[in-house]
């Protein structure tokens, strides 16, 4: 039985917006190259480095406004913790997406029929549709990772917390004779690439892990999650009836404007 629940904490005070996480993600997950990747609505990225500023505030003034970068990937929603059901999973007709007992929301490209219900259901626009056939010209094919299949045209794809790396690490342990799946630890590509260590990954079920500690930090918040201020029992009720996404990605900031902007309160 899997005892872990993978989660992520991203410290925006440390994020310089260098973009290393984004490119590491694309390289690790064989993301498709299209004819025109400046078509921002139709290009495929798992991790988007969002630029956010507070300059649309009514009283915003040059000299006082600020800008920040928010790496946004699949937030791995849980929904009601008593009965995990992410918004995308409950609408999928063909079980192409599901939530594992380690909390990771999976996506099987080859099973997807491209109805895009999950894209409509996703509160974070973390899912993308392959509008075209990927073009890996010439030697670009040589750089492809054999652990991730290339999605064909007409399917929906998304970040899976690099679960193929988890499998890689599991196989490595099995080769060493360790068969306990809870002994497997791994690091997704974006986390390993971050030059300031702003992204932390780990087990949310382990109260001593760095990510659990950060999730409880007073600077922590979650994207578009207004019920985080409520007390525990109220939250429990609201989860049962209210269908809140309850994501497993936490963001940390000491700047109140980012928190207010991204929580939609």
């Amino acid at each position: 039985m899997m005892k872990r629940k993978w989660g992520m904490a991203i410290d925006l005070d440390k994020c310089t917006g260098c973009g290393a996480c984004q490119i590491a993600c694309m390289q690790e997950n064989n993301l498709p190259i299209f004819e025109d990747d400046s078509d921002i609505l139709k290009r495929v990225t798992f991790l988007e480095l969002m630029t956010v500023t507070n300059d649309t505030d009514a009283d915003a003034k040059y000299g006082e406004v600020k800008v920040a970068y928010i790496p946004k990937m699949c937030q791995q929603c849980e929904g009601d913790p008593a009965e995990p059901r992410p918004p995308c999973v409950s609408v999928c007709l063909v079980a192409a997406t599901d939530v594992g007992d380690d909390g990771v929301v999976s996506q099987i490209w080859s099973r997807c029929i491209g109805c895009r219900y999950c894209m409509a259901a996703c509160p974070y626009q973390a899912r993308v549709f392959n509008w075209w056939k990927p073009r890996f010209e010439g030697d670009f094919k040589q750089g492809l990772n054999p652990d991730v299949s290339i999605a064909s045209r007409g399917t929906v794809v998304k970040c899976t917390f690099c679960s193929h790396i988890w499998k890689r690490e599991r196989d490595r342990l099995i080769a060493q004779g360790i068969t306990d799946i809870n002994a497997v630890e791994y690091t997704p590509a974006c986390v390993a690439a971050c030059p300031t260590g702003a992204i932390v990954f780990g087990d949310l079920n382990d109260p001593l892990s760095e990510v659990s500690q950060l999730a409880k930090d007073p600077r922590a918040f979650r994207l578009m999650h207004p019920i985080d201020d409520k007390d525990e029992s109220r939250k429990k009720d609201m989860h049962r009836y209210g269908r809140f996404p309850n994501p497993k990605v936490y963001y940390l900031t000491s700047q109140s404007w980012i928190r207010d902007l991204m929580r939609f309160t």
């Binding site: 005070d13 440390k14 310089t16 917006g17 260098c18 973009g19 290393a20 984004q22 490119i23 590491a24 694309m26 390289q27 690790e28 064989n30 993301l31 190259i33 025109d36 990747d37 400046s38 078509d39 921002i40 290009r43 495929v44 990225t45 480095l49 630029t51 500023t53 300059d55 915003a60 003034k61 040059y62 000299g63 406004v65 600020k66 800008v67 080859s110 056939k133 890996f136 010209e137 010439g138 030697d139 670009f140 094919k141 040589q142 750089g143 492809l144 990772n145 054999p146 991730v148 290339i150 064909s152 045209r153 890689r168 590509a189 390993a192 690439a193 971050c194 030059p195 300031t196 260590g197």
Partner: protein
């Protein structure tokens, strides 16, 4: 035995057909077949599996030299593991290595110059042809018309290139604009040393940055990230002076917005307060210099010019004077740096006044080293005597010197220099242009020979991955050429790069300094003339985009995919403007405009309205608008360098393009 009648036979046969059919369906074979049909009809790529292994090495893409691990599947490199070091470029190494448009063989021009038509030739043939031209040029007594332009990051091949030119008899080696060579002129002026300013940013506790976008590719990305984390630990204060609210300004403890291009004025305004506080410096001309500051850079005056309140200037000066390890940082920009030498001198003077020069957390001088004086023959000696070196790259491009042979070492001055168009004309007139490059960039496009060099991934160490191409390390190519030139070969006794003893970096503290008030006297007049230009009412200020820098990243599809939609989308470049500025011209979000300066016009670009930009300023991303940089990087947006100020700084010989007055239409 019972006879099998017709009915039984049909039953058995029917059963066999049904059973076989069910077995076939349940075996999964039809699904496999269907999958195969799907893959075949969609022409899908399936990455080939193989044995996984890791190789370790050092990334030589910049002087930071990060340790990296490469994940290999058989002989294919599939991922770079940087273990929380490195930078975004490090992640793009795989795409650079496997780029379908890599130059795989030496290429010789076959069409008209600039037509982009090349044909592969053998290495021996190419080297033979090149060395013959070198020998001919030297015999004709035109050795001084040899010239080379190099990239500031290629340290070792630059040393070899310099030795090659000097042994052949030419002083014309120029480096593309970077903090190193801009501060070289300032260091020469201030300390009479041949070196560059080297900031110990990691250990400083009060960092006053004059538009140096420290966290946006400035200097060496990884050491800047390390310094940034250290500042957080030690509670150091970062004060960012900048016209735009850049990423660095947002992450800084304090952002001081100022009017475009007035960094020098603000630095001297702070010097005024430091002098008032009794800070002083030993050095010739200091009395005159401080008198000049007292006379012209009074708080009122400085505040009027820079737009920074009088109290802020005096508070910053006070904090700077009282900090334990204060450091003032010059070098406007991220990857592409543009500052006048006078500005670097003014900012460096602040470090001198608070005695940060030569201390931990301060600034020291990194001496430029060479491989020693090469033996020179009569031709070289005679030619070196008559040749005069230009002050810098732009000075050289604008000069009358027409090179006989021009070598471009991994550089792209046609795109990066504001004098790029002039350089194209010069290259058209040059009989032999040799480019050492991995990809055909805007400059290599106009070459006669393109010699393929190695990407950073192929240079990580002995076990580095290899391609089947005939690329060679730039240093080896230069050795090959040098050994074929009569009278120069003696200066290169090495058979390979490995035998060469490259000099170590040397940091020193300057002992003497000379202050000159003259270079600042004209400055105030120039600034007010600039600010009062009616015809060109707006100021163009550049900014850089993550992973693209000043254009290098644009060839890699994964970098293209990472660009923000308000910078480049649907094949259009966006410029950023304050809503008030846009309103005056009747512009709204997404309007298409052209940018016009004294030098020309570029367009069209779209307008994004944001209050991160000062009123009266148009912020334009750098690195776009390549005319030739693989199919991925070409014809994407516009290159603002085409219209940016090309006035050459008299001390550094490089164009100071930071601020350009423009109008829009």
């Amino acid at each position: 035995m019972k006879k099998i009648d017709r009915r039984d036979f049909l039953k058995v046969a029917g059963g066999a057909v049904v059973g076989g059919g069910a077995g076939f369906v349940l075996s999964g074979a039809p699904f496999d077949a269907f999958q195969w049909v799907v893959e075949w009809t969609q022409d899908q790529v399936v990455p080939s599996p193989g044995e996984e292994r890791f190789i370790t090495g050092i990334c030589h893409a910049c002087p930071n030299k990060c340790a990296i691990r490469v994940r290999m599947i058989d002989d294919r490199a599939v991922k770079i593991e940087t273990e929380n070091k490195g930078c975004s470029m490090g992640q793009a190494l795989v795409q650079w290595f496997y780029h379908p448009e890599r130059v795989k063989y030496p290429l010789k021009r076959v069409g008209k110059k600039g037509s982009g038509k090349f044909a592969p030739v053998k290495w021996d043939e190419a080297i033979q042809d090149i060395t013959t031209s070198f020998n001919k040029l030297r015999k004709e007594g035109k050795a001084d018309s040899l010239a080379a332009i190099t990239n500031p990051h290629t340290m070792r091949s630059t040393l070899l290139l310099e030795r090659l030119l000097r042994a052949a008899g030419s002083p014309h080696l120029y480096t593309e604009s970077c903090m190193c060579n801009l501060s070289r002129a300032a260091v020469k002026h201030l300390y009479n040393l041949d070196g560059a300013l080297c900031y110990d940013l990691e250990n400083a506790d009060y960092i006053l940055s004059f538009s140096a976008r420290l966290l946006e590719g400035w200097g060496q990305p990884y050491s800047m990230h390390k310094a940034f984390l250290n500042w957080k630990k030690t509670d150091a204060k970062l004060v960012q002076v900048d016209t735009l609210c850049s990423r660095t300004a947002s992450l800084a403890n304090e952002w001081i917005p100022l009017k475009p291009g007035t960094e020098l004025t603000l630095a001297l305004g702070i010097a005024y307060h430091l002098l008032r506080k009794g800070k002083t410096s030993r050095g010739t001309g200091f009395a005159d210099w401080s008198q000049m500051v007292f006379n012209y850079y009074t708080p009122d005056n400085v505040s009027k010019i820079t737009g920074v309140p009088i109290e802020t200037i005096s508070r910053i000066a006070g904090e700077f004077a009282e900090a334990k390890r204060p450091l003032a940082v010059a070098g406007r920009g991220g990857t592409g740096i543009s500052s006048s030498a006078a500005e670097i001198i003014a900012i460096q003077t602040l470090n001198d006044l608070v005695e940060s020069t030569g201390k931990t957390g301060g600034v020291s001088i990194k001496l430029f080293s060479t491989l020693g004086d090469p033996p020179a023959d009569d031709i070289a000696r005679a030619s070196l005597e008559k040749a005069t070196r230009s002050k810098g790259l732009d000075d050289f491009i604008a000069s009358e010197i027409d090179p006989g042979i021009l070598i471009i070492n991994e550089a792209n001055p046609v795109h990066r220099s504001t004098h790029g168009k002039k350089l194209v004309e010069k290259m058209q007139r040059t009989p032999l242009v040799i480019s050492l490059s991995t990809l055909i960039n805007d400059t290599a496009h106009y070459s006669d020979y393109i010699l393929p060099t190695l990407t950073a991934l192929e240079r990580i160490g002995e076990s580095a991955p290899v391609t089947r191409s005939q690329s060679l390390c730039a240093g080896e190519i230069i050795l090959k050429i040098a050994r074929g030139i009569e009278g120069v070969a003696d200066a290169f006794p090495w058979s390979s790069r490995a035998e060469i003893d490259f000099p170590e970096e040397e940091l020193i503290t300057p002992r003497t300094r000379a202050y000159s008030a003259d270079i600042f006297k004209e400055h105030l007049k120039q600034i007010s003339a600039q600010q009062e230009q009616k015809e060109y009412p707006l100021a163009l200020i550049p900014f850089e985009v993550p992973a693209i820098g000043d254009g290098v990243g644009l060839a890699f599809p994964y970098v293209l995919k990472s660009i923000d939609g308000k910078i480049f989308s649907y094949d259009k470049l966006w410029v950023h403007m304050h809503p008030e500025t846009a309103e005056k011209d009747g512009l709204s979000e997404g309007s298409k405009i052209d940018l016009i300066s004294k030098r020309g016009e570029i367009g069209s670009v779209r307008v994004h309205l944001t209050k991160l930009v000062a009123p009266g300023v148009v912020a334009v991303p750098l690195g776009f608008g390549h005319t030739s940089y693989t199919k991925y990087g070409s014809d994407k947006g516009v290159n603002p360098k085409e219209i940016m100020t090309a006035d050459i700084d008299p001390i550094s010989g490089t164009a100071d393009w930071w601020l350009t007055r423009i109008q829009i239409s």
